[in-house]
């Protein structure tokens, strides 16, 4: 049930861009309560994520993405994000966010160590080890 792109949809600049730096566009409607009005610009097309943004997300997620995979990913991610945009129809004024499904208060516990002392078990699945340590490529020159 993808939502058709509404005329007058506005581009909300991410708050991290408040310093006036260039950043990629987020195409979302109804974000007025969340972003200072000064950052709205004119309507943008359905492609919210550009090539550079997909590359940046992949870097943040530490997933290697080859250059020729990006157009397809861009298309898929924009399809999903476009469909998700229908959430902007919902009036969320005054609604407290729900962080979880637990019908009870989260429990407290003593801040004490209750487990451990078996390095062999912990290291049993290590792809590489050196003695009682996990081994990785050299980090510091």
């Amino acid at each position: 049930m993808p939502q058709p792109q509404q005329r007058g949809a506005r581009r909300a600049m991410p708050r991290s861009a408040a310093g006036g730096k260039r950043c990629s566009a987020l195409n979302i409607r109804g974000a007025a309560s969340m972003v200072p009005p000064a950052f709205f610009t004119k309507a943008v097309g359905a492609m919210a994520l550009d090539h550079a943004t997909v590359r940046r997300i992949a870097t943040l997620a530490r997933i290697r993405v080859e250059e020729d995979e990006i157009p397809r990913l861009q298309n898929e991610l924009n399809g999903i994000l476009g469909w998700i945009e229908q959430l902007n129809e919902v009036n969320i004024e005054g609604v407290e966010p729900l962080t979880g499904a637990a019908h009870m208060a989260l429990k407290m516990r003593q801040d004490v160590v209750t487990d451990g002392g078996y390095p062999e078990k912990i290291l049993a699945n290590a792809p590489d080890r050196a003695g009682a340590f996990f081994a990785v490529p050299k980090v510091v020159e």
Binding site: P14, A101, P127
Partner: protein, 493 residues
């Protein structure tokens, strides 16, 4: 009747009366797996030797008169539950070599109660999927066949497709699954069996490979409502190792199955319809409501106005949590490693090689919606919509005791269908995802067959921690439906 056709309740009686041994029961299932699993691919790993050892121990316990609730009952365990010393893959290449040094709480509870583990079942990678097509270990074939097109290979649903197919094909008496957006109930519906997602907090998540922690619900599969109740009674219970585990008593779920529905008010949510939904689903739903009225319930129209927003909210919240949970797969401490020039290159190559396309897609979506500047517009908004979805249920449950809906907007589809557009696949979970977001219990029970003689499930949704009413309504429905159809591919067929 073949041993593999027995229900868990019947097998319990037979084992106690020494009509057959746990070893014979287990071997009957292992032989069925040998015969059918090469085709169905329901199990990733079969524990032949361990299962036989467990069965002999069960026979010894039975001989001593020390049988517990599931002593000698052979089960299928979704490969998302960590099992000590038995490889646990989550359907992913990144965990292909992983052998857990510990047992999940839910499987430890089942072992405590005498259950036998036949093996670990196939699933969508990291439980992300509705067809089992995203598994790194190949797709699962649904044992049901279309009457008009017997050549078509249908999906068992997902993500717990292996457990559902195994139980339907009599390759296990029951099984475990996990439900994050519908991953127990939708495969139960597609495979013509019963699947139960309890209240969030009822079953511990400790030792279950995490997908979206605020949405992951372990639960049982079986061929009857009573069998599901027996399994859930063993799986459930407070666990200090899971901070969201509920410290409240576990009622006798099985006893609730005989309770009936006289005097209960059953809500009929008007939003549980979709454009293009087959007419047979509406017919099965109306028939189910008529049967509940005949059994003494009153049916009441209700509205859950935010239903259509549940799936888009889920596709922010679940990927956001997944991107965080799956950050642990870095090629350093366990699982796959792809060597790189430096540590960062090692991370990136490992994760590119280890995660399949759907998992990568969801990690990227999750990373994006949590990234600086977008958090409020996506994640916070989705959490507010989630609050409204819970409020829809709370408001409805002020007037009714339970809800009856279809489980899924279609019967099982063929492998390869709905693969071109991720959103088309996501729509499978339209009717199940609401109960995950709200954390309320829900069961899928076979409601009838479509024109292709494929099963269609009906879903009963209940109030938080009121599984007993869900089981009571589910069992009443089961008695009225009298579902006795069996899949084409099954043991002893």
């Amino acid at each position: 009747m073949s041993l593999t056709d027995l229900t868990i309740a019947q097998a319990r009686t037979g084992l106690r009366a020494r009509e057959f041994s746990a070893e014979a029961l287990t071997l009957a299932h292992l032989h069925a797996i040998e015969a059918l699993n090469p085709r169905l691919n329901a199990y990733i790993t079969v524990n032949h030797a361990q299962a036989v050892d467990q069965a002999r121990a069960a026979d010894a316990a039975l001989a001593r008169g020390e049988a517990r609730v599931l002593t000698g009952i052979p089960l299928a365990i979704k490969d998302l539950f960590c099992t000590e010393g038995v490889r646990t893959t989550a359907g992913s290449n990144i965990l292909r070599p992983f052998v857990p040094p510990y047992e999940s709480t839910v499987t430890a509870n089942l072992l405590r109660d005498g259950a036998i583990f036949l093996g670990k079942t196939n699933m969508d990678e990291f439980a992300m999927g509705s067809s089992n097509m995203t598994s790194a270990f190949g797709p699962v074939e649904n044992p049901w066949k279309r009457r008009q097109d017997t050549e078509a290979v249908l999906v068992p649903g997902g993500s717990s497709g292996g457990s559902a197919a195994a139980v339907a094909a009599r390759l296990a008496m029951g099984g475990t699954g996990t439900d994050t957006g519908g991953s127990i109930r939708q495969p139960a519906s597609f495979c013509g069996i019963v699947g139960m997602k309890p209240t969030y907090g009822r079953c511990s998540r400790w030792g279950v490979v995490a997908f979206a922690s605020s949405l992951d619900h372990p639960g049982p599969f079986a061929r009857t409502v009573e069998d599901c109740a027996l399994l859930l009674g063993s799986m459930a219970g407070h666990d200090p190792k899971d901070s969201t585990s509920a410290n409240i008593p576990v009622p006798d779920f099985a006893a609730a199955c005989g309770r009936g529905v006289k005097g209960l008010r059953i809500g009929v949510p008007r939003e549980y319809r979709m454009d293009g939904m087959p007419a047979e689903i509406e017919t099965v739903w109306q028939q189910g409501l008529a049967w509940l009225r005949e059994a003494g319930a009153e049916t009441v129209d209700v509205s859950l106005p935010h239903t259509k927003y549940a799936l888009p909210a889920y596709y922010i919240i679940a990927p956001a949590e997944a991107s965080s949970n799956l950050a642990r797969y870095d090629g350093v401490r366990f699982g796959l490693r792809s060597d790189g020039e430096d540590l960062r290159d090692l991370y990136e190559r490992t994760r590119a090689a280890g995660f399949g396309a759907e998992v990568r897609r969801r990690i990227l979506i999750g990373t994006y919606v949590l990234s600086a500047g977008y958090y409020d517009a996506y994640y916070l908004r989705a959490q507010k919509v989630r609050a409204l979805i819970l409020k829809d249920f709370t408001d409805a449950f002020a007037h009714v005791d339970a809800l009856l809906t279809p489980t899924a907007p279609s019967a099982a589809f063929a492998q390869g269908e709905k693969m071109d557009d991720p959103v088309q696949m996501y729509l499978n979970d339209l009717f199940t995802v609401t109960a995950d977001l709200a954390g309320v219990p829900a069961i899928s029970v076979p409601g009838g067959l479509d024109a292709n003689v494929l099963p269609i499930g009906l879903q009963v949704i209940g109030k938080p921690f009121d599984e007993v009413t869900v089981f009571a309504v589910g069992a009443a429905l089961e008695r009225a439906v009298g579902f006795d159809a069996v899949p084409t591919l099954r043991a002893a067929a």
